[in-house]
């Protein structure tokens, strides 16, 4: 197995995730795309963990999984709140920051 193959897989997933974040309108879909990005990072971390023969990559992958769980929890709470106030979760409609 080559180092590149795992890193490239990570890169492809990352870019798909970025596309999802940019293109999707539904807030839940954006959160899903972020999960894709986080997973691609984990693949990288584990590949490097094997490459360097150290266990640190595993540790950090676990930390990222925990953080992702927290992020989804808070993210969905936000989505619910927005939905309750606005009756929509389309990000296009949320443009209070318009200059």
């Amino acid at each position: 197995m080559l180092t590149t193959q795992f890193l490239l897989l990570g890169a492809v997933l990352f870019c798909i995730g970025v596309y999802g974040v940019l293109a999707r309108k539904n807030a839940v879909m954006v959160l899903m795309s972020i999960e894709l990005i986080l997973n691609s990072v984990n693949i990288n971390l584990l590949a490097f963990s094997v490459r360097h023969g150290s266990v640190d990559g595993n540790t950090f992958a676990l930390y990222i999984i925990a953080i992702a769980a927290a992020e989804v929890g808070v993210g969905l709470a936000l989505v619910l709140l927005i939905y309750r106030n606005r009756r929509t979760i389309a990000l296009d409609d949320l443009s209070e920051m318009k200059g």
Binding site: A23, D92, L94, S95, E96, M97
Partner: protein
Amino acid sequence: MLAHEMTSEVLASSGWFLDHAWLIPIIPAVAFVLIIFFGKKLPMKGSELGVLSMLTSLAFAGGAAWQWIQRVNSVVDGAHEAVAEGAHHVAPFVSPVIHEWTWWQSGGFHFGIGQHIDGLALTLLVVVAFISSLVQIYSLEYLRGDRRYTHFFAALTLFSAGMLCMVLAPNMVQLILGWEIMGLCSFMLIGHWWEEEANSRAALKAFFTVRVGDMGLLIGTAILFFSANSWTQKNLGVSGFNISGLSAWAMSGQASHSALTWGAVALFVACIGKSGQFPLHTWLPDAMAGPTPVSSLLHSSTMVVAGVFLVARLYPVFWEGMKIGDTNINFIVLIGGITIVIAALLAFVQHDIKKVLAYSTVSQLGYMMMGLGAGAWLPAVFHIFTHAFFKACLFLSAGSVSHSGSHHSFDMKKDMGGLAKKMPITATTWIISTLALAGVFPLAGFFSKDEIIDNVGHNGYNAFMIVGLSGAFLTAAYMTRATYLTFFGKARGAAAGEHHDEHDAHADAHDSHDAHATQNAHDSHDAHGAHDVAHGPHESPKLITIPLMILAALALVAGLSNATPFGENWERFKKYVEPSAEYVAIEGTMASGPGEAVVVPAQNVSSEEAVAEEGCAVVAPEAGMACYFPTIHHAPFKWSKAALSLIIVAFGLLSSWMFCVQYYTRRNKRLVGLTERSKVLRGGYTFLWNKYYLDALYEKVIVRSIAHPIAAAAYWVNQNILDGIVNGVGKVSRRVAGWVYRNIDQRVVDGAVNGSGAAARGTGGALRPVQSGKVNQYGALLFAAAAIGALILVIINT
């Protein structure tokens, strides 16, 4: 020739207080927690805990200082004995008392906490503990009945804990910890009466302006850590955060020069913010919105010298990074010199007595920085010491005047005058401190300020010696003006016993230029109900006058602790505070167990001349040896030079006095209205009145001059060129322009602290469509920028 084997050993004594100096900040920290949780239930609402903890800290600091003196003496005596036993010349090296424990560790990095006690740390410890104690005692009366009495004492105590923690920090991480605690307390205390909008704005301004500088602290620490860590680990076995490690690294001659320079510049930016140096001094006068004891403790004598302390503490880094040894102008001396003059000029046009003192503080801090930048380390540190006493005394006197003399007003022109007869103690302490500040002969300020000016000239910075002398003239003049307006001449307003009723006081307040004076007037009004029954000026109660008298007494005599004119025996600061610039063997200089006597290897140098020629700053130490401080030169004292500066000061005092008598009392026709008649003078006055338009510069000019043309240019390009071509191309370039605009704009806003709103409005509607408010578009720009940035890095590196 400086061979390792030639060192002989000298025993340095230690002691319980020296080894347990880390308790000094712990005591107020514990007191803070107790005040917060139990303060309100106590009979004196928690203030007794604050005062008690500060007095205990003071006792500990005093004990440690005493034992330090013993330690220095034992080393010096040991060196003499070694000479008697046949060594040629033994230069004593007094090692600091360093203890460091692991505070926390992560991924192999250890962050320490502990103490680094030497003469500099002890000077500051004693000063901070001493002034804090006095200010807390003073506040018992000054803030009696205040609605947040307990919180006030809690914040004051926490501040002291933070400052003490910073002063004895053995590494940069602990220093940053203390530094940030101080920043937080400064914010809380300036905004103590936050109900008035001006106060909370002043608090925010102080906090954010200092934060701009604090970026430099973090960046500088990071630069130094990453460039020094491997050297310090290898040679000294400590991390690159360690202060003595950094000093030895900077002096080792193996340090990367660009890292030193950039690290020193970044750290100095932090000092500019914290110590109110030009051009970030604008927060300090606004900070006078806080209660007077706060101004006295934080914004004159202790917190604002933190920046000066940082430079003094890491002096080898600045010495090497800024090339202080050369006589070329460097960053520190330049900023210090500019600050002296511009702040002193501003002090002339203030109506508010506290603002005069604030600008005076800024100007004196400029002296300290100029001294450090010109290699006058000892006089600068000595000036921290003396300045603390007389400036604290001046602020507390001003507080006493407003408390009992002017009905809580700080306006010299409206509500003061002729108070000398009614408040004799306050007037005496004020005048003593004024003379000390001006630098009149036997008082504290003379010995420190004159030394700075003298040494700056001696080290070859002649232009800055003239700056120092003109600063001395200005200082004498503006302090005379303030003294005259407050204590002499005809009584005006509240000082004349005019009875404001509640409504009047309020209206007065709104006229006042200085909203905070008003603020104090109004806010402490209810607090002083009982006391206001006896209207009209009178002397303040004992809890206020006793701290004043103690401080004034010190302003009289503190200078004698390093009285260079009287010869070597009087130079105690030089003996006990200045670190020894000696080559020492590395083992034995680092941390040792508590309570043990330390074996200090003292350098055996072949002759006296060798020391002079090959001082630590000139020749890099050999392997196995280290330097912890550069060799600095001391100007020999000459009465002729002192006479010159004394004449200048006397001239300043007299001319200003005559002017005040003519102008304010006799209303001399030729002088009154001069600013209206002469265009030049009027221009100068307006310029000063608007504080050199610096605030306007930050808020309007910088933000707009950069944001505006870019916006305009982008708009022009958009209208005239791009619209003509394909619409889509136009859209893209508009996005790019918007990206540039937002980034540069954002950066300028952050840089100039203020006015982000004004900038956004000022740029007009041209770029509005880019600010769509849509998250996805922002995200697209973010990711595209990241990708392009990465692409550029790839291209550069291939």
